[in-house]
């Protein structure tokens, strides 16, 4: 990067040392910090998953007591959702959106700095709760009242504050993405010429602005119930515990798409590049993304089929949920058709992208099964659900992030990662992820509820397999960490060309590798 700084950016450069990272307003520095935060969270959340899987390796209580087990499931969920997946996507947006639209930086660089630097404090506080009297939050990442209000450990107040801070950070990040995309596109780049990653992030940013305040609202209502004597969620005072679930899932369902829409964008780029063929159905991809986003606001109660909704409500949410399969299907068909009659090669990003399409589709199909309300009475809150959402979040969202990092890393740091290590990482992850999550379908159908620290004997064998898979998957991520370190700090790997891959499409490939500190000094012309 130093070469670029001296030549292209001599009027001002980054500070030296640690302060560079504190004061930076540069989209690349901030993107890097977001990605590192996400990696750190992934490792911490993964360690918690190890604790969970080690306890569940055999029936009986071996390692932890049930209360600590609940803290682990809760913190694992919170850290993976808010600490790993979401910041990783924001990090990618920071790096890529300006380069893809031909801009020098994000539109609001100081807000960018602040929205990042809020996060380490939010997560620091959340992690501190593990050491507090009464322990960390233990009511599940969905924190249903009244378990999370009247019956919560004292640390719940810190949890609420932490969620508030994360929410502020997310909203500022989203505002920044929207303002950047609306105002800083290169001349000639109309909306329907924008790269899909930019499109999916634009829609994601609107989702964030719409639902983060709802999350803030629901935790504030909890805070009031806990400390100020209100009864939003307490029937004894005229409130309603189910209200909590409605408000939470009105946030929670769009949140699910916040974690997958940018993945759709990434995978679209990668599949097109390595099939050496333009993406099939660009326009329909954009419309499918937008309709998924709109539908995400009217499906929330499919998480609540067993709370005793009236029949009409049940039917409405069943139908609307099933509808989501249509635009999602369009996307999958478009990807497959992009590969069809292409000229494919299978570098690490492509392997992860193909695995994404296959495994995300499996997760989508089990989602369709879950949409059938009467059948959901048997699936709800069992390991079948755990299998479903891990299929869309791990080989879904996480694989797309890994694919994206491998795909753009040579552009970021100017050197190629080790393809051999990348392939090892992929195959071990692919095998591990399936050994971990596929058998969960079976134990779920056979009747194992989720969030239990100990289980009946008929679930024992599958749980042992799942635990073995989890350790294979988790440990193989260390290969990724090493590969990253080796390529960036270690300085190994051959020099990347400006194009990096075989004729990839997009403005980011027109600038040198590594990308200069301010991506485009002069706006490029888009034809």
């Amino acid at each position: 990067m130093s070469h670029a700084i001296e030549s292209a950016d001599h009027h001002h450069g980054p500070d030296k040392g640690f302060l560079r990272w504190v004061y930076t307003t540069n989209h690349k520095d901030i993107g890097t910090m977001y990605l590192l935060l996400a990696l750190g969270s992934l490792l911490i959340g993964g360690t918690m998953a190890f604790v969970i899987r080690a306890e569940l390796f055999q029936p009986g209580l071996q390692l932890v007591d049930p209360n600590f087990f609940n803290q682990m499931t809760t913190m694992h969920g919170l850290i993976m959702v808010f600490g790993a997946i979401m910041p990783a996507f924001v990090g990618l947006a920071n790096w890529l959106v300006p380069m893809m639209i031909g801009a020098p930086d994000m539109a609001l660089p100081r807000i960018n700095n602040w929205s990042f630097w809020l996060l380490p404090f939010a997560f620091g506080m959340l992690l501190c709760t593990l050491f507090m009297d009464g322990g960390a939050p233990n009511f599940g990442w969905t924190f249903y009242a009244p378990l999370s209000t009247s019956y919560a450990p004292p640390s719940v107040t810190f949890f609420i504050f932490s969620v508030h801070i994360m929410g502020i950070s997310s909203i500022m990040g989203a505002v920044n993405v929207i303002v950047t995309i609306f105002n800083m596109r290169a001349p000639g780049m109309t909306f329907m010429k924008m790269p899909l990653f930019v499109w999916t992030w634009l829609i994601t940013a609107f989702l964030l602005i719409a639902v983060m305040p709802v999350l803030a609202g629901v935790v504030t209502m909890m805070l009031m119930d806990i400390h100020f004597g209100t009864s939003f969620f307490d029937a004894a005072g005229g409130g309603d515990p189910v209200l909590f679930q409605h408000v939470f899932w009105f946030f929670g369902h769009p949140e699910v798409y916040i974690m997958i829409l940018p993945a759709f964008g990434i995978v679209s780029h990668i599949i097109s590049t390595f099939s050496r063929k333009p993406l099939f159905g660009y326009t329909s991809m954009v419309w499918a993304t937008a309709s998924i986003a709109v539908l995400s606001f009217i499906v929330w109660a499919h998480h609540m089929f067993t709370v005793g909704l009236p029949l009409v409500g049940e039917l409405f949410f069943m139908y609307s949920t099933m509808l989501i399969a249509v635009p999602t299907g369009v996307k999958v068909f478009n990807w497959v058709t992009t590969m069809f009659r292409g000229s494919m090669t299978f570098e690490t990003p492509m392997l992860f992208a193909i695995a994404f399409v296959v495994l995300f589709t499996i997760g989508g199909l089990s989602g369709l099964m879950l949409a059938i309300a009467p059948a959901d009475f048997q699936y709800h809150d069992t390991y079948f659900v755990v299998a479903h959402f891990h299929y869309v979040l791990v080989p879904g969202a996480l694989f797309s992030i890994l694919a994206g990092v491998y795909y753009w890393l040579p552009k970021w740091c100017g050197r190629m990662y080790s393809e051999t290590l990348g392939k090892w990482h992929f195959w071990l992850s692919f095998i591990g992820v399936n050994i971990t999550f596929f058998p969960m379908h079976f134990v779920g159908l056979a009747g194992m509820p989720r969030r239990i620290p100990d289980y009946a004997l008929q679930f024992a064998d599958f749980n042992a397999i799942v635990s073995v898979g989890a350790f294979i998957f988790g440990l193989s991520q260390l290969i990724f960490v090493y590969n990253l370190w080796r390529t960036t700090i270690g300085g190994k790997g051959e020099q990347a060309t400006d194009k990096v891959w075989d004729e990839p499409d997009g403005l980011e490939w027109d600038i040198p590798s590594p990308a200069p500190y301010h991506s485009f000094q002069e706006p490029p012309q888009v034809k």
Partner: protein, 373 residues
């Protein structure tokens, strides 16, 4: 590449088969023992096969491309990237499949919501961490608590066949009878699930939900709580015992008489109180205060050597009867009979090195309960 995953899985299956027979492995949803559970199973299988068919087509095309359209085989990339016809087709076809699927699903759902004309009404109440069953038109009301010994959970004893799925008092119901469940909870949200009946309904404090079943076959059906409800969430199973109508009639009469007898206040000796107290303690108190009275401070205080257990007996009875506000200690006045409370208080004052030597009598507890103090 999926084949690799599958063979790895089956290799692991063989390796890890140490403690239970393959035959016991549940792979799929149970068909259950009611008309509704069979309908639900049918829906599940239909949608599953539709999903498999979609997956076969999609992954088939993909696999074909991966094999034949690879650069290493000299494939040249085509340049097509749009077709409105195809896009409309693959929007409409899934839509039609969905409509076909929605029709039977809607029918089953409407049936599930028709809880009218029930012959028996049973109120199901969730507590941290046990179930209470109240037969609304009979004088029968009892708690149902996990009986798996703590030693099995702690791996100090071999685990029994129904490990974690066994209770002291199962819910007894007749077959071929429409039974309506009215579900609610006392503290947090729980969820009452018996897979064989395809009944899963959340029990919500302050609200009453409704569900129903008609069981076709006598037998014992086991289920679990399915809404995270605190640390005992994995330890509050459900056992339903379906018996013939005659057997049920006899059982309910006997229960009513036995429960009326238990409500009578009789004199008990110190030994009787200690023996009954130990079993009451194990089922109701040990989850938090631990079998040896050591508790889990700071949330669940120790009883061995505690101020309450070694202090004034009236205060001790009071905290068991009415609970302690702002803490996890609940009120047991409704949950336990006066003799149970007398027994458990006596036990707590004289176990694990506590040596008060005094005893609480059922009369004393009754008096204190009625005086409201």
């Amino acid at each position: 590449m999926r084949r690799v995953g599958i063979s790895a899985v089956s290799a692991l299956l063989l390796l890890s088969n140490s403690h239970s027979a393959f035959a016991e492995w549940g792979l799929n949803m149970t068909e259950g023992v009611t008309q509704l559970s069979q309908n639900v199973h049918g829906l599940h299988m239909t949608i599953f096969y539709i999903c498999v068919a979609i997956a076969v087509v999609v992954f088939g095309v993909m696999l074909y491309s991966i094999i034949y359209h690879r650069k290493s085989r000299g494939a040249k990339a085509a340049n097509f990237h749009e077709s409105t016809t195809v896009e409309i087709l693959w929007t409409l076809i899934p839509l039609i499949i969905l409509v076909v699927m929605a029709i039977p699903a809607t029918q089953t759902l409407i049936d599930m919501y028709d809880a009218e004309d029930a012959e028996i009404d049973i109120q199901v109440t969730g507590y941290q961490w046990k179930w209470r069953y109240t037969y609304l038109n009979e004088d029968v009301d009892f708690f149902s608590i996990l009986t798996t010994p703590q030693e099995q959970i702690d791996n100090k004893e071999a685990k029994g066949e129904n490990y974690l799925l066994e209770v002291d008092n199962p819910l007894v119901v007749p077959v071929d009878t429409k039974i309506r469940f009215l579900l609610t909870a006392k503290d947090v949200i729980h969820s009452w699930w018996v897979p064989d009946l395809a009944v899963k309904k959340d029990t919500i404090p302050g609200f009453i939900n409704e569900s129903w079943t008609i069981i076709d076959k006598p037998g014992i059906y086991r289920g679990q709580c399915t809404e995270l409800c605190g640390k005992g969430h994995g330890f509050m199973p459900i056992v339903v015992k379906a018996v013939s109508k005659e057997e049920y009639a006899t059982w309910i009469t006997e229960q009513a008489i036995a429960q009326a007898a238990a409500r009578e206040v009789k004199d008990m000796s110190y030994e009787e109180l200690m023996a009954q107290g130990e079993s009451v303690y194990k089922s109701n108190c040990a989850a938090c205060h631990q079998a040896n009275g050591s508790g889990m401070p700071p949330v669940f205080p120790a009883l061995a050597g505690s101020k309450i257990a070694l202090g004034d007996i009236a205060d001790h009875i009071d905290i068991v009867l009415n609970g302690k506000k702002g803490s996890a200690m609940g009120a047991y006045a409704e949950q336990l009979s006066v003799s149970d409370i007398a027994a458990v208080v006596t036990y707590e004052r004289n176990a694990w090195g506590n040596d008060k030597g005094d005893m609480a009598t059922p009369k004393q507890v009754k008096q204190q309960k009625e005086s409201g103090k």
